[in-house]
């Protein structure tokens, strides 16, 4: 547990940058949720959405959600990490500038250039727009992603520099002397351990993403430069899996730091904790073949490894972090308010969302569930009810909105959480009925499944809009420590 009175306040520029990250993310989350709602309304036959517009919205929704989750997660990590190491505020601003420049390019590529190749830009689809988009639209989208990646790369390099400066090495940042040796030194705080893991996986992932983006960009304008579709798929899913998972690993630092303040109990950094984070470092990078289980030409060992890593990858989450949250809260006399309630909800969302994800990592299951609605079912659970709840919990915390919640806050909490669970469950049920994902128009027998999903989606967007308004109107109360 941290004694916040002993922590130096953030300089004004740092505080402003963190609030800019969080404010932008609050607005973008609501906007992206509205885009998601439009898609579900289209599938429910409640909205006449042309297929080209549906797929453009789908591309914007995916890229927007992943990107903004990265931005918001990095803000949480930076806010807490600065308590222990000396980070560079100029890099924080530079990342935001790269991010916003990338967003302009991406939006231009989609809504002016017509690009609708999905946020996963599966090669060679970017160069096969079939009249819907051309190489310029695709290049804007891919170039935008590349710019965003450059910004994040700078940020994580700065985090690495700061941790090495303070602790001597990244191995020490992960607490290896305490984990593998006989060191009597106090291990690094949870925030440092988590940040070290995140920078290791994200630098690797972003570099892989940059390589594949450049390969595809060159191919767009020089088709004679041939690129292997399976190689690009491996690189894309490695990058994509690592990046989206790292968003949660950054945001969970808020749970490690804030729940102990509420419960007056320490979040103990012991060997189990350190072992879990070291294991996660390896498993988050090794698990990506579970996205390729239906690529039968992949080596069998890699696909079986994907299944095994899917199983073991759930361990650190369920057995250490979620269980740790339950332990620290149980009979603690905690005061339930918006930060503590949302953070506790987020641990539930993460843990419960892991279940259908792990099950889908079984090859025999993936054979009938891959690319059905089951897949967005599990990740909407741990992103809406897990990650985004975590982030809004932090936003309530940083703006000092603790204590007895108001009526609107309580209402928003229940609308959001029940809507989020309901939306995810409707996705899962659709997957059970084999409804494919990413279809602009659903067959008549599937429409009935999309209608309750649209209602749940509206609830989520409404709840998030209230959270966002409460955050944006409370910025003047934001804390500097």
């Amino acid at each position: 547990m941290n004694d916040s009175t002993a922590i130096a306040p953030m300089p004004g520029s740092s505080k402003l940058a963190i609030l800019a990250y969080l404010g932008i993310s609050a607005l973008v989350y609501v906007l992206m949720m509205v885009l998601g709602l439009l898609m579900r309304m289209g599938q429910a036959n409640w909205l006449g959405l042309p297929a080209d517009l549906f797929y453009q919205i789908m591309t914007a929704h995916g890229a927007g959600m992943v990107g903004i989750s990265g931005l918001a997660g990095s803000a949480v990590m930076w806010y807490f990490l600065r308590r222990y190491v000396d980070l560079t505020v100029g890099i924080l601003w530079a990342n935001l500038a790269f991010f916003l420049s990338g967003v302009v390019l991406i939006l231009g590529g989609i809504f002016l250039g017509g690009y609708a190749g999905g946020w996963t830009f599966l090669f060679p689809l970017p160069s096969h727009g079939m009249g819907l988009w051309g190489p310029v639209g695709a290049a804007c989208f891919l170039g935008g992603l590349l710019l965003i990646g450059v910004g994040f790369l700078l940020l994580y390099l700065d985090v690495a520099r700061a941790i090495i400066s303070k602790y001597g090495s990244l191995a020490r940042g992960l607490g290896w002397p305490q984990l593998f040796g006989n060191s009597d030194e106090t291990p690094p705080p949870a925030a440092v351990v988590a940040a070290t893991m995140v920078l290791l996986v994200n630098i690797t992932g972003i570099v892989a993403g940059a390589v594949v983006l450049v390969l595809i960009l060159v191919n767009l304008f020089m088709p004679e430069f041939e690129v292997d579709a399976l190689l690009t798929k491996n690189l894309i899913y490695f990058f994509g899996h690592v990046f989206i998972n790292a968003t949660i690993y950054q945001a969970v630092i808020a749970v490690y730091e804030i729940l102990p303040e509420y419960t007056k109990r320490p979040w103990k950094v012991n060997k189990v904790f350190l072992g879990a984070w070291t294991a996660s470092t390896i498993m988050v990078m090794a698990v990506y073949p579970h996205h390729l289980l239906m690529d039968f030409v992949m080596p069998t060992w890699a696909l079986v490894l994907g299944q095994i890593m899917s199983y073991t990858g759930g361990f650190p989450i369920l057995v250490v972090t979620a269980f740790g949250a339950l332990t620290i809260v149980h009979r603690s006399g905690i005061q339930w308010d918006m930060p503590s309630g949302l953070l506790f909800l987020s641990m539930f969302g993460w843990a419960v969302g892991v279940v259908p994800a792990v099950i889908d990592g079984t090859i025999a299951v993936n054979n009938v569930m891959h690319n059905t609605m089951w897949v967005p079912g599990h990740f909407h659970m741990y992103l809406i009810v897990g990650l985004v709840a975590m982030l809004f919990g932090f936003k309530y915390y940083i703006t000092g909105q603790d204590g007895k919640p108001g009526m609107f806050d309580k209402l928003a909490f229940w609308i959001y959480s029940l809507g989020g669970v309901g939306l995810s469950v409707t996705f899962l049920i659709s997957g059970y009925f084999s409804v494919p994902r990413r279809w602009a128009q659903h067959m008549p027998e599937w429409v009935g499944l999309s209608q309750p999903a649209a209602l749940m989606g509206a609830a989520v967007a409404l709840g998030a809009a209230i959270f966002a308004i409460r955050f944006l109107t409370s910025l003047k109360h934001a804390r500097a420590v």
């Binding site: 690529d295 339930w336 067959m443």
Partner: protein, 175 residues
């Protein structure tokens, strides 16, 4: 169908997590006093949970990897009655043969002529019975045995552009 098993297992495990979180949330406001005894009990439960998950994971992995769907792609064609070449293109399937007989074991050799697609085979109840990716430069072989007659559908499972959802063909299984 395997989907039924998947749903039941998912609901049971998710239900257990819901119960654990509800139990803690309901008891959270009570002050349990010293943290150390609570932590000690929790660590003991966690240790047991860890080993239960390890044993379950090893058993499930062993059982579920005994019969993988990759054999035909590695050239093992024993017991196969018919091979059918399928090529995915934006936005249609080129299918060498659109029919089979009940009881036949068919291998679909699946590739793509432009972008990546995904071949999903749906039965007459519109439930998926198997799938594989269709990728330029590669051929994935999907082996299926058709136990029931009827009109099956071949649908695209990988987003491939603006008419992705219209990439549906028929496949007939007769007595």
């Amino acid at each position: 169908m395997i989907q039924d098993t998947v749903l039941v297992v998912t609901l049971v495990l998710m239900g257990a997590i819901v119960a654990a979180f509800l139990f803690v949330a309901i008891n959270a406001k009570n002050d349990g006093g010293e943290y150390a005894p609570i932590q000690g009990r929790a660590y003991a439960i966690r240790s047991k949970l860890f080993w239960v998950l390890v044993v379950a994971g090893v058993l499930i992995t062993t059982v579920t990897t005994l019969d993988l769907p990759y054999a035909a792609t590695r050239g093992e064609m024993a017991g196969v009655d018919k091979q059918i070449d399928i090529n995915g293109k934006q936005w249609y399937w080129e299918i060498a043969d659109t029919s089979a007989k009940v009881g036949e074991t068919v291998v679909f050799n699946v590739s793509a002529g432009d972008v990546t697609h995904g071949l999903g085979v749906y039965d007459q109840d519109m439930r998926i019975i198997g799938q594989t990716q269709a990728m330029p430069g590669y051929a994935n072989s999907l082996k299926l045995t058709f136990d029931k007659p009827g009109n099956y559908k071949l649908m695209c499972m990988e987003y491939c552009g603006v008419a992705h959802h219209a990439m549906v063909s028929d496949f007939t299984v007769t007595e």
